[in-house]
Point group: C2
Chain length 328, copies 2
């Protein structure tokens, strides 16, 4: 069956039914979900609302021959939830705008939606609305809404000189998966982790500073954080959290481990700063995720990398020249 | 200049600057706008938040040779604001997800954004975030957020037998503009009206019933309202609000005026029900828009059209057969 056979209202009805069956059509934050001109959400008293939008487009972010529809749907919501995590918010709802060719296999469209619903359930993020449209290529645009205690949202512009710089999880993992896929050894890209709990715990910490999710690579995203905060930083590359066996795996693929860790992108870990005496050790427990201290915020602008070997210095010139991920 | 020369961050910087210059980068509802992982909004105490998403896709909703970019941008936000109007909400922010080919003239992308910003200013709806992505065709997906006094949002499912049915403005105007454009007599489609004030006034009325915006045509959207409310209705076609000279204009173009008024679509007027003694006459003043009573909600399911001439009866068969606008 093709999408055109299912029709717009048929597809919407299937989405609504699937969301309902999965228990993600509503929550105590949702007054009215799918089916009206707009959804109605009711954040708790004293909460701010955060909102973010992200799109996955065929040709730019995926191609059908190598993309499992359900995994794509999972990714579409996960990248948005990563933004909510980086704000320290809990999800209260999401909308999806699906554009697809009428000739698309209905199973692909429904698989995509199932993937969204999988993550919606895991993250307790109700699916409250959306849009479907005809297009020549498939794309899914997700808007996620979150709530966070008034004034407690994590921001990029809150880093101060003296703050320690930390990161959850490991870096370069997604880039390594992509490098592997390019060699034909794997098909599916690594999915972003759910760091909602870590973000919320961080937002509640008295010593919290700035926070951003690492989507474009550590260098690029730390750069955004430093620019927003008007500060600089030193990062000790020897402290970067790398997966066990990361360097040998990179060597086998002929890729530079430091390049992957610094500029690889799509790790969707939380990069944040902390001040005061909050011990880094107990943090992993409070955040429910591995946490590694990798550097320090400084008043002097610019980013300084410490602990580089001469070979790494040379590799870094190549990273800079490459300029990271570009959307156009 | 092409979009690829402007680049992702170049485009985002231009959007942020343009929004700031136009005074739509923030408001008292916006704690943090464009530039972080997510925007932070702060609705007033005791307000619900409503959210809606709508997309315009090249090929499906417009084609570049006949579409002025700025008008397209205006339309993209206006169709979303129509949904907020139909909920009785005031806008508190919007995000835009733009997908476009790297080869798109930068002026088209910027024109599109200028159109969004035009309407954002007119409607006091801050532009708080978004996304840009590479695609083979241009599309713009807007998510609009609104706020409305707790429990006062207008819904589709609130019509009760005995309610009077009313509509703002005039019907068939957009469809007539499309018919004219097809004959090459005009280029630009009629833009949706701003009915935010009418929606908010309606939400505050004690006798308010259900409400929906007329985007797919009166028959289709009244159908949605009746289904959601579990009721039926009678509509007097002689009462339908038509523009002066509507019938002769239709005759000149060889189109059926009743078909345009009932199934034309894209009028984006508010269709709503009222109970009690609220006088229809004073309503126009309170809503700041023309208001016409066109029928009555009844317990018996189905939609009955009254006042049809024999010729109109025959035309109606054709309307039903056509089945209205389909998105796939």
């Amino acid at each position: 069956m093709r999408l055109r056979d299912l029709g717009e209202f048929g597809l919407i009805a299937r989405i609504a039914r699937a969301a309902s069956r999965a228990g993600v059509a509503g929550s105590r934050d949702v007054v009215l979900g799918i089916g009206d001109d707009a959804a109605i959400l009711r954040p708790r008293a004293g909460e701010d609302v955060v909102v973010t939008t992200d799109a996955l487009v065929e040709g730019a972010h995926f191609t059908w021959p190598t993309q499992d529809a359900r995994t794509l749907g999972r990714r579409a919501l996960l990248v948005n939830l990563s933004d909510l995590s980086a704000m320290g918010a809990r999800p209260i709802g999401c909308t999806i705008a699906l554009a697809a060719p009428p000739s698309l296999e209905a199973d692909r469209a429904l698989g995509l939606l199932r993937g969204v619903i999988d993550v919606a359930r895991e993250a307790a993020c109700p699916l409250v609305g959306g849009n479907v449209a005809r297009a020549t290529e498939t794309s899914i645009t997700v808007t996620a809404l979150g709530a966070v205690r008034r004034g407690r949202a994590l921001r990029r512009d809150a880093a101060r000189p003296g703050d320690r710089i930390l990161v959850t999880g490991q870096l370069g993992v997604a880039a390594l998966a992509v490098a592997r896929a390019r060699r034909g050894r794997a098909r599916v890209k690594r999915l972003p982790p759910l760091r909602l709990g870590a973000g919320r715990a961080l937002a509640a910490l008295p010593g919290r500073g700035a926070c951003i999710d690492v989507s474009d690579g550590l260098l690029a995203d730390l750069g955004h954080l430093l620019e927003a905060s008007g500060v600089g930083a030193s990062i000790d590359v020897r402290a970067l959290p790398l997966a066990r066996g990361f360097a040998p795996a990179c060597a086998r693929l002929g890729v530079d481990p430091l390049a992957l860790a610094l500029a690889g992108g799509e790790d969707y870990e939380l990069l944040f700063t902390l001040r005061g005496r909050t011990p880094a050790r107990g943090l992993a427990g409070r955040l429910g995720a591995p946490v590694t201290e990798i550097g320090r915020i400084e008043a002097r602008r610019g980013l300084r990398l410490l602990g580089l070997s001469p070979e790494q210095e040379r590799g870094l010139v190549r990273i800079r020249a490459a300029g990271g991920w570009r959307h156009f």
